[in-house]
Amino acid sequence: MFKLLDGSQTLGRGWTFWSCFVAVLAAALIYPVFADSYDVGNFSYFLIWIFMALGLCLMWGYGGMLSFGQTLFFGISGYAYGVLAINMGGGSATIAALVLSIIIAMIAAGILGYFMIWGGINGIFFGIVTLSATLVLAFFLGQTAGPEWHIGPARLNGYNGMKGMDPLAIGDYFIEGSALYYVMVALIVIVYLALRMLVNSRIGNVIVATRENPQRAEMLGYDVRKYQLLTFVIGSGLAGLSGALYTSWGQFITPSSIGLPAAAMPIVWVAFSGRSDLTATLVGSFLLLFGFQTITVYSQQAALVLMGALLLATVMLAPQGFVLGIGKLVADRWSARRRLGASPALADTSRLQPDET
């Protein structure tokens, strides 16, 4: 199992990396002890979006499928959670609503993915079709303001959004504040480690092979369509997890969390972070969300312009992602220093001599 966690498809290996991982996790666990409840709630909010980013990283970075549909499945799951939580009642039923809403998002991804992948849609057209489906859902939900648009007692409410659902709860105990924060941290750790194991497994090998050369992967006996569909369903399911958690966190959801500006956000987070690595995506997305939220307090427009500028800068200066680039640089320096430290003679010979300058 540790071999899968420490495999070659993910950056960060060995005791140094895992020591850092444990240190960061320990810091995250003791954070609520020192922070006020507002900041803890804010951190929970940032963590909600990380699942969506990790899902896109899996699809785009590892699988080569640029999906613009993360907020489509975020929205499907978010609205499904609202409808189910309202119809099933509060308490422990909200946990069932969370699980069912993620399953609904995954089924929707399976259906859309089946028609796209079996229909031979790939490359830029994959992004266009998923974006189109996202916009269709956002516009559809926007025109559901009338009282006729309801599922049981749950009204969709058009652009005003759906509200009135309970947050996650076990019996009479609402999972809010620090409890919600710890649930988020636990889910992030589980999802992150599970994705590491997936991409370093045999299945992960085929997912990466399909990104690199689908025809060759097919000629090695792999039905690449099945692997692409699996990747799409898992990645979209993670967006669904974000959506259901978002609705339960804020007890509302609106079509604006699905539309074009929202749909572009995961692309920016993952591109800036480094789409080909889970750890870079995790760290980079968190930093961007933190920065975005901080700037949004002063000006939402400024925050959106900054996101656009970051995407442009990433494309122009660091197409593989800034966080990934910095991570690789640090790792290279660290291993070079260790090599030189282990061999002083080599350290001497590697220095430029005066006549070489």
């Binding site: 085929v206 092979a209 025809q215 060759r216 000629m219 090695l220 006996g221 039905d223």
Partner: protein, 239 residues
């Protein structure tokens, strides 16, 4: 006993007929070479056999089973393996991982690592196993792709111009390697332009010209066929 039976296969691309009503039998255990001038339809026929193109007309049997409608991956699982004309490897992945992806469905754990090492040594790629495949020379990429095809331990190995970009020594070594696999029972179908290489390995030869079967038989008979010499020298239309 035939391993592959191509029956009346035609492939049209719009108004162009690349392969026209071709019948081809590849017997189990033989090295069969498919030759012909550029544009004869050799690579198209290969892609039809392996399933990368669906035929416009005709059927393809593998081990007496009709595989005409099957996907390439299903055909590979039946026991086919192909090396494409242009090197087709996973260029951004390390050489060893390329081999690993080809091996992982058949071997696991220490046995897989043993097989990886054996193939890398056989292909002279062991010193470069940590490099990404795209950093290899053209010839080395050819070797790597042959290694990936061999890793599947196929009944039928299809090689489309396997020696393109190789030196004469490498070409000769490739021929000997193919013969050694054939001696172990592997059937090999090769598309090749290099007649010296064909002489080195071929047991039976089929000549394609303008998408049709032009001649077939053993190597000596084909070499002495004046019409075959003419199409290779481009004199067909001169008469």
């Amino acid at each position: 006993m035939s391993l592959v039976d191509v029956k009346g296969v035609t492939k049209r691309f719009g108004g162009l007929t690349a392969v026209s009503d071709v019948d081809l039998t590849v017997n189990a255990g033989e090295i069969h070479c498919l030759i012909g001038p550029n544009g004869a339809g050799k690579s198209t026929l290969f892609k039809l056999i392996v399933g990368l193109y669906p035929p416009t007309k005709g059927t393809i049997l593998f081990d007496s089973i009709d595989i005409t409608e099957e996907r390439p991956s299903a055909r590979v699982q039946r026991g086919m393996s192909i090396k494409m004309q242009a090197p087709s490897v996973f260029k951004e992945l390390p050489v060893r991982q390329n081999i690993q992806i080809a091996l992982q469905e058949r071997f696991s754990g220490a046995q897989r690592i043993f097989e990886e090492d054996r193939l890398l040594t056989l292909l002279n790629l062991a010193p470069d196993s940590g490099k990404v495949a795209g950093a290899l020379s053209h010839g080395q990429q050819q070797w790597l792709e042959i290694g990936m095809a061999l890793a599947l331990q196929p009944q039928l190995l299809l090689l489309d111009e396997p020696t393109a970009g190789m030196s004469p020594e490498e070409t000769f070594r490739t021929g000997e390697l193919i013969k050694s696999f054939n001696a172990e029972g592997m059937t090999v179908l090769v598309v090749e332009h290099d007649m010296a290489f064909v002489r080195q390995i071929a047991q039976r030869v089929t000549v394609l010209h303008l998408g049709k079967i032009f001649a077939r038989g053993n190597l000596e008979a084909i070499i002495q066929d004046e019409k075959v010499a003419e199409i290779y020298l481009g004199k067909t239309h001169a008469h």
